[in-house]
Symmetry: C2
Subunit: 345 residues, 2 copies
Amino acid sequence: MAQSVLTIDLGAICANWRALAAMNAGETGAVVKANAYGLGAGKVAKALADAGARTFFVALAEEGVTIRKALGPGPTICVFGGHMQGDAPLLRDANLVPMINSIDQMLRHVEALPGHPFGIQLDSGMNRLGMEPAEWTALREIALSQKPVLVMSHLACADEPNHGMNAFQLQTFHQMTDGIEAPRSLSATGGTILGADYHFDMTRPGIGLYGGLPFVDALPVVSLSIPVIQVRDVNPGESVGYGNSWVARVSSRIATISAGYADGIIRAMGPKAFVWAGETRCKIVGRISMDLIGVDVGPVKDMPDTVELLGRHQSIDTLADAAGTIGYEILTSLGSRYERRYIDG
Amino acid sequence: MAQSVLTIDLGAICANWRALAAMNAGETGAVVKANAYGLGAGKVAKALADAGARTFFVALAEEGVTIRKALGPGPTICVFGGHMQGDAPLLRDANLVPMINSIDQMLRHVEALPGHPFGIQLDSGMNRLGMEPAEWTALREIALSQKPVLVMSHLACADEPNHGMNAFQLQTFHQMTDGIEAPRSLSATGGTILGADYHFDMTRPGIGLYGGLPFVDALPVVSLSIPVIQVRDVNPGESVGYGNSWVARVSSRIATISAGYADGIIRAMGPKAFVWAGETRCKIVGRISMDLIGVDVGPVKDMPDTVELLGRHQSIDTLADAAGTIGYEILTSLGSRYERRYIDG
């Protein structure tokens, strides 16, 4: 088989959820948007529900429908995108809770689905989703009279504990919500780690569940094993891959492995990334192609049938550094061509 | 709906195939690996078969099985990865033709599937897949006696017509194959454009079918429409998005649109990319998040419900420039969360 194998440890995801839940006194939800950060929304949500999670968050109503099918009735499923034009049948049939982002969305919601549960999303400074302070002031009384199930906002800089934006957004959120009856939520993984001031009634971890920074102690969740198609000797002066961008300076031994940027191995990481052949770290050489990557396996004693790109030796954040991005994008880029194997919780 | 819509023009794919086929006298195959560059392997292969393509190329045997299901018996389906350990049942049951890359693969093939069709892949200098000249010399007689259906190699620098590597690989391929009876193939899209010397008996276009460079006259194939969730006024000094990386210098009007790097909108393009609101080009501001992007819509007169990231105003190659990559990676990154709409050929 030339098909790579992505192993997803549902037990580790649940353990990470429990560890984050133990940090705060309130309820701990779970963010499963973007197909649970690429790891399989249905399976991940089911495992987390079995572990005790009762509230789930997605970006789109369509994603909420997938989660509802996996979980059945019972758990609360909140939609960050709110109530968009045309969403009413999805929200109603799958019993989803839109996080209302604007007066427009509020009007749409009460007109299309009177009495249907909703939450409120407030903008505390990120200027991305949610009502501005002035908009909220105008709507607040009438919205609260309809009993929102959650009032939330989102931090822009929670990955940087010392960033002044955190305290600014905390203060703004207090100003916008102090004294209300509805449960409140401000923090995802980063805010959970910032401490009790940021926890309110519900936290909403995402990346921490999936083994990524800023949750330093997260258990790793994914490992990726890539088959070796062939190994060849390359003479000094010969090039490897597209554009002749890598030229051997000395006699080299090059493995061609069976994955590429079509599998979400971001092309930009080529010049800086490594794979592991057993216990030996091996440099990627030449440009990453769509389905294939060249690797310098000169130092490898016994060449294995597969190499490891993610796993025991290399985390999503290390790989993200090589690609000039963040672990989140490494996860959400993971391709559909992998065989996915799940380790149960 | 907050779900973005990706429209794929199968008619344009077929027209591009016909245009590339008209450039050469031999057979023109079609590369449909990586889920037809992200556009849907089954639908694309079916449309191309209806347009007249008889030979299809994939990277993995598993992909070949998908194509066989879509096409039924008849067309030839070649697997670039060759015959890997464990592939025999897939190759046999789906009647796939492995492109044998090494003596090891040749031995595996004749042992596991004696008499089953195969092709030969030669390395003419890219050092990625295929037999080296010395390996080929050792195997040539016995391999040719088994009547391979195709003998092929692949160009490393065909996107650069003046690169000396092209002539070098052409000469090497001639040296390795002149005088054999089996049909020969050297070129994908780039080599097809290089001219008749590079065509041999079969060309194998991939990117040109899907509207990308180096086929300058390719019809565009994809368009991507992203819903606007909300629009807000932002005061000078306020920031937008994660990490406060963008700060408004003047009073601004910012739209939040419903797609992000989880949809394959590569995070690195943020500082350089634009979307189109009707006929107005609008700059992306702040970091691209997983599901959301901020856009400066100040210049827009009548704000539409959706904006265009790919389509009439902006090609995959223009977007690739913004991301520091190539059009191929823009295509293969296109996310699974889009609603896909097909325009028939």
